[in-house]
């Protein structure tokens, strides 16, 4: 057989297959993206972000997980040496490489908002306490920003919303925001059962005792009859009682 017709047929087959496979690839990519990040894209931002990731990806030849783990190990080593800037850059890169790994966002925000912030506050080089606090606040904000991005990358899981709530509560003392985050986490379906009580605690801590009482009452009603013991109805009853007596006490004081 002569070489030219076979070559032409071979090339034509590949081109015909190319034309057939494109719509298939586009559909599968959209379905996968819809299932993982909740949009079919591409938006301008998505394309740009993917281009950055894609270039790294091409260099790594698909071994993203391994590279991200190496970065986490580097962050761990830098953490032991208290080199916070190195910790941050390694963690940022790890989350860029594997944005769908909740564990990375969780660890990264914990390192920044807790470890780095506390280190800056207590052991920072600044002699002025105000400056040390400003520095600590910067690290906490960096951790918060990271978690906000994490919740956008993995919107279907409760973990990062819960962690964001913890950060608002423990580091920023913004209890209303914490309650909102916990409530968002509860809509995801995989939140631990105790988290539903934390919404009420956060509302009370924010000074909204009436809101907290109303919330606990709603929560108790939602437990049905007989309630699921794992949801600890006895604790909710106790909280309702406590908040009720508090409200009665304060209304009595006002009356007097």
């Amino acid at each position: 057989m002569s070489r030219t017709p076979s070559l032409v047929w071979g090339c034509l087959l590949i081109l015909a297959w190319g034309a057939c496979k494109l719509p298939w690839e586009i559909r599968m990519t959209r379905q996968q993206r819809m299932a993982t990040v909740g949009f079919t894209g591409p938006t301008a931002v998505a394309v740009r972000e993917k281009l950055g990731q894609g270039l790294v990806l091409a260099a790594l030849g698909g071994f993203r997980g391994l590279a991200a783990n190496a970065l986490m190990l580097e962050a761990h080593a830098a953490w032991e040496e208290q080199q916070w800037v190195r910790v941050r850059s390694a963690l940022e890169l790890a989350t860029l490489l594997q944005p769908r790994v909740a564990l990375f966002w969780d660890l990264a925000s914990w390192h920044l908002a807790w470890n780095a912030a506390v280190a800056a506050e207590r052991y920072g080089g600044q002699s002025s306490e105000t400056k040390r606090r400003i520095e600590a606040r910067k690290w906490t904000e960096a951790g918060r920003e990271l978690l906000e991005r994490g919740t956008k990358a993995i919107p279907e899981k409760s973990l990062l919303f819960q962690r964001l709530g913890d950060l608002y509560w423990q580091r920023l003392e913004d209890y209303q925001a914490a309650a909102a985050c916990y409530q968002e986490a509860l809509t995801k379906g995989d939140a631990p059962p105790y988290l539903e009580r934390f919404v009420g605690y956060a509302l009370e801590k924010a000074g909204d005792s009436a809101g907290a009482l109303a919330y606990f009452r709603r929560l108790r009603l939602s437990m049905g009859n007989p309630p699921d013991p794992a949801r600890k109805p006895e604790i909710v009853d106790r909280e309702i009682e406590r908040l009720q007596s508090q409200a009665q006490g304060s209304s009595g004081k006002n009356h007097r």
Partner: protein, 281 residues
Amino acid sequence: MRESGRRILAVAANTFLEAVRQKVFAVMLIFALVLLGGANYFAEFSFQEQFKFLKDLGYATISLTGLLVGLLGAAQLIPAEIERRTILTALCRPLRRWEFVVGKYLGLVFLLGTMLAIMAAGFWAVLRWKEAQLVGAEGTEAAMIQAIQAEARDARLWQAFWLVSAKLFVISAIAVFFSTLATSTTFVVAMTLMVYLIGHLQSVAREQWLESGEKVGWILQAFLAGVAFLIPDFNLYGLIDEIVAGNAVQWRATLEVMAYSVTYVFVLLAAAAWLFEGRDL
């Protein structure tokens, strides 16, 4: 047809036996098993992190070893036969060229499949070993034991394994395709590696060409279209990362990617057979 199948199987069996006799593949397998065992030594972290490291390293080891086996195996298939002139003896018999190409590919698939099965068994053993270690060290609570077991016995890991295998079979088919064109093994290895790397960027090129709406020069457009048309989209196998990250991936999506892989292999083998028909030996 039956005769054809018999001849293809004979070539495949011969290719498989020839490859098994080569020490390089045995060394690779031992190396992979050592790496898999070594993955168990990230003990400083939480159990979720340890499993994440273990799974990533496990799949990376399986992928890398499979890639090397596929590349080196396929690179030697036809160019080496031509160089040694043994191909002439083979094709003198009542054996069609397409049967030779398909038989060679199937032999490579047998080899790859055997190695993947051994590595999967090794990986499974390491996961169970890690589970036993962690339960011994941390598992006093029932909930903790349950969480550790859920990580170690995650059935979704099978989905990831099938996806890794499908990806490797496509890469092997690409290498076989190039080996029907090439005269040297270096050419086959270099071209296949290039396609492998570009394949991870194919979706970016495709979207830039078809969906971004940005105005770019026709040379760039032609380049992007060429990449989209000719190169497989290896980002579709990114589901493996999703599974390792502990996210749910539907079996339907996995099966669709596998169907895509099988179709790709068929097309590549058909094109390779066509090209090989017209080749002067």
